[in-house]
Amino acid sequence: MSVLLQQLANGVIQGALIALIALGYTMVYGIIQLINFAHGEVFMVASYGGLATFTLLPDDLKKSPAVALPLMFVGGIVVAVVVAVIMERFAYRPLRNAPRLAPLITALGVSVFLQEAVRVWYPDATSNLPYPKVFPEGGLSFGSVNIAWTGVLLVALSVGLSIILQAYINKSRMGRAMRATAQDPDTAKLMGVNPDRVIVLTFIFGAVLAGVAGVMFGGYLSNINIDMGFQNGIFAFTAAVLGGVGSIRGAVIGAFIIGLIKTLAGQYMPGGTQYDYVWIFVVLILVLVFRPQGLFGEPERVRA
């Protein structure tokens, strides 16, 4: 029983992390119908950005988590946003009217490039790097079930930020512009919405969330490597599809489902942990085949 509870807790924490990344996928897809394959790498770069910020801090600041931690978040987010904006401006924007395959291949290229750039140019990035110990240590424990404070923080941040995002998109003027562009870019443009601004902003929002996720990932797992972006990116993408691409609520719920599938399948399905990815992909394929619009998405519109 305690194993089940522990796995449920693990699943929820993983889900929270995936949700932060999945939101970036789902927003970008909702607006320009692009699977931003490189979004996972933005998350990875953010994690290294946070680490670099910490390394650059003077020694006395390194010792006070109250200063170091927020600065790391800022560092990670700034790096993520810069990378995302450059990527949008120079890789995707010129291809906005190209055939659909073109930006997808570009995204793949960006993904490989970012991963390799970090590997070659970040010191010692060829192997896993330890993350600084500025995060709260220890955690909650209920009997034999342990939940690290970083995990609790991750879930709180993930849920909190997605609620704020949802509210922003529903309530604010810019949010309305985003929804309008997603529904019909041409009409939105006629109504005075600047699509370039909306799209850049979407990328920025995605990058901010990925930045938070990147730094929290390091804090929760205490180490990072260059492959983390690809792997979690795939999970996040799957979550976004499961929830219905374009839907904020869907992405978050999808992410928690994916997190739970991963831990529970590793525990209870035949083949154990070595096949836990496989079950996620099986779910992905089943969803795509039987309910391509996802759990909360609208059926795909055929665009004129």
């Binding site: 693990n10 192997s127 790097l129 955690g139 205490s222 180490n223 792997q231 942990t273 990815y277």
Partner: protein, 407 residues
């Protein structure tokens, strides 16, 4: 647009000019190698290792350590009349590319031996190519026993390739030695196994499993994690439910360190043990905790003057200690080739007819290297069967037991 690019090109150009200035790295007094007689030409030691991609840290460690050995030989005039060079070929950890690299080296008449590979799967394609040209291959890192002794390596060992040697210990030595320590010395009867599913880790774990059962211990569970994973919470929760007294990890330190740390924070406070793949200071940096264990080949390095000399020389040549897990082994492999070459040439000239003698001389080579005594048995395996168990004590690896595996 154009003006911009012209301007930025000018800025870049100017910066380059300033940076490069008018300097040069011209060396006074001709080429390196100093006073040795190199009148007979240049001979090449090949290296086949992954120099790009995500295993490149290990591959580059292998390459640079080989370069160090060759440099030292050139300075000491080890091979009379010849200058030695290293030709490092990238195998991208891909067997097909490994075959290509081996072919490239094997068509060069000046290649006297090859150091490599890192991956056992790449070794499988490299072995036959080099055998056909009678080029000795000394691996610093292949631990799969089948490479030397065939599929039935325990019951009916049979030499596979007469040109293949290795200086590292095979899985069937290290695994059982660790098992003996865990079950008999540390008294851990219930052991859970986690591997990364790669040749090294899975092989090690398989050999450990056999010995644990033989000694009356119990394997309570076996799990595999992805080689790129960073989140082990699922595996740990599963293993924790089995209440093991120790966890054996078959794999390398990049995953082992975080695994150990995450075990502790998930409340699974048992020691983690691994092979020489986790015996690295980085393991502790990445989260390896007090009481974690590792086996490694040879006697403790502090007791070996040669090991310390290697580390110092490496640091002097390359500025940092990035020789990685297999640097010392690569250094020893290279020295075995150089030593055998010196004996083969012995003041004479190198030619194709010397290849048979070269193979024999590598087989009979003996010397003391950075990892201990270097000698090969009838299968091409290292005779250095001394193993040491280390434990993490106050943030450092400390040896707790040294001995030979006796069954």
């Amino acid at each position: 647009m154009r003006k911009h690019s012209v301007k930025s090109a000018a800025i870049v150009g100017a910066t380059l000019l300033v940076v490069a200035a008018c300097g040069s790295n011209k060396e006074e007094g001709g080429t390196a190698g100093g006073s040795c007689d190199t009148s007979k030409g240049t001979l090449t030691v090949g290296v086949v290792a992954p120099l790009s991609g995500n295993l490149s840290a290990l591959g580059i460690g292998i390459k640079q350590s080989a370069e160090l050995a060759v440099d030292e030989a050139n300075q000491k005039c080890t091979v009379k009349g010849y200058k030695l060079t290293v030709s490092a070929q990238d195998d991208e950890a891909n067997p097909a590319k490994g075959a290509q690299a081996a072919t490239k080296l094997s068509t060069d008449p000046n290649v006297v031996g090859v150091v490599g590979t890192l991956n056992s799967s790449v070794a499988q394609t490299v072995q036959p190519i080099l055998r056909d040209k009678k080029i000795p291959q000394v691996s610093p890192a292949n631990t799969n026993p089948t490479l030397t002794r065939g599929n039935d390596f325990l019951t009916a060992p049979k030499r596979q390739f007469d040109n293949y040697f290795r200086v590292c210990a095979t899985d069937d030595l290290q695994g059982p030695y660790a098992a003996n320590y865990l079950v008999e010395k540390a008294g851990k009867k219930k052991i859970a196994i986690i591997t990364d599913g790669k040749t090294y880790g899975a092989g090690l774990a398989a050999e450990l499993t056999k010995q644990v059962t033989k000694k009356g211990g119990q394997i309570v569970g076996q799990e595999t994690v992805g080689e790129k994973d960073t989140d082990f919470s699922g595996v740990i929760a599963k293993v924790k439910g089995l209440a093991p007294e120790a966890v054996y990890y078959g794999g390398e330190y990049p995953a082992a360190g975080p695994l150990s740390k995450q075990m502790a924070s998930a409340g699974l406070n048992v020691p983690l043990m691994g092979g020489d793949g986790i015996f690295d200071p980085k393991f502790i940096e990445l989260g390896g905790k007090e009481g974690d264990l590792a086996t490694s080949v040879g006697a403790p390095t502090e007791s070996l003057a040669t090991a310390k000399a290697f580390v110092d020389a490496y640091k002097k040549k390359f500025g940092k200690e990035d020789y990685a897990a297999y640097g010392a082994f690569s250094y020893d492999s290279t020295n075995a080739i150089i030593g055998a070459l010196a004996k083969t040439v012995d003041g004479g000239a190198w030619d194709e007819s010397k290849r048979d003698a070269m193979l024999t001389n590598v087989g009979s080579y003996s010397g003391s290297g950075a990892t201990g005594e270097i000698k090969f048995d009838q299968y091409g395996d290292s005779t250095n069967k001394v193993l040491t168990v280390y434990s993490v004590t106050s943030g450092k690896w400390k040896d707790v037991q040294t001995g030979e595996f006796t069954g």
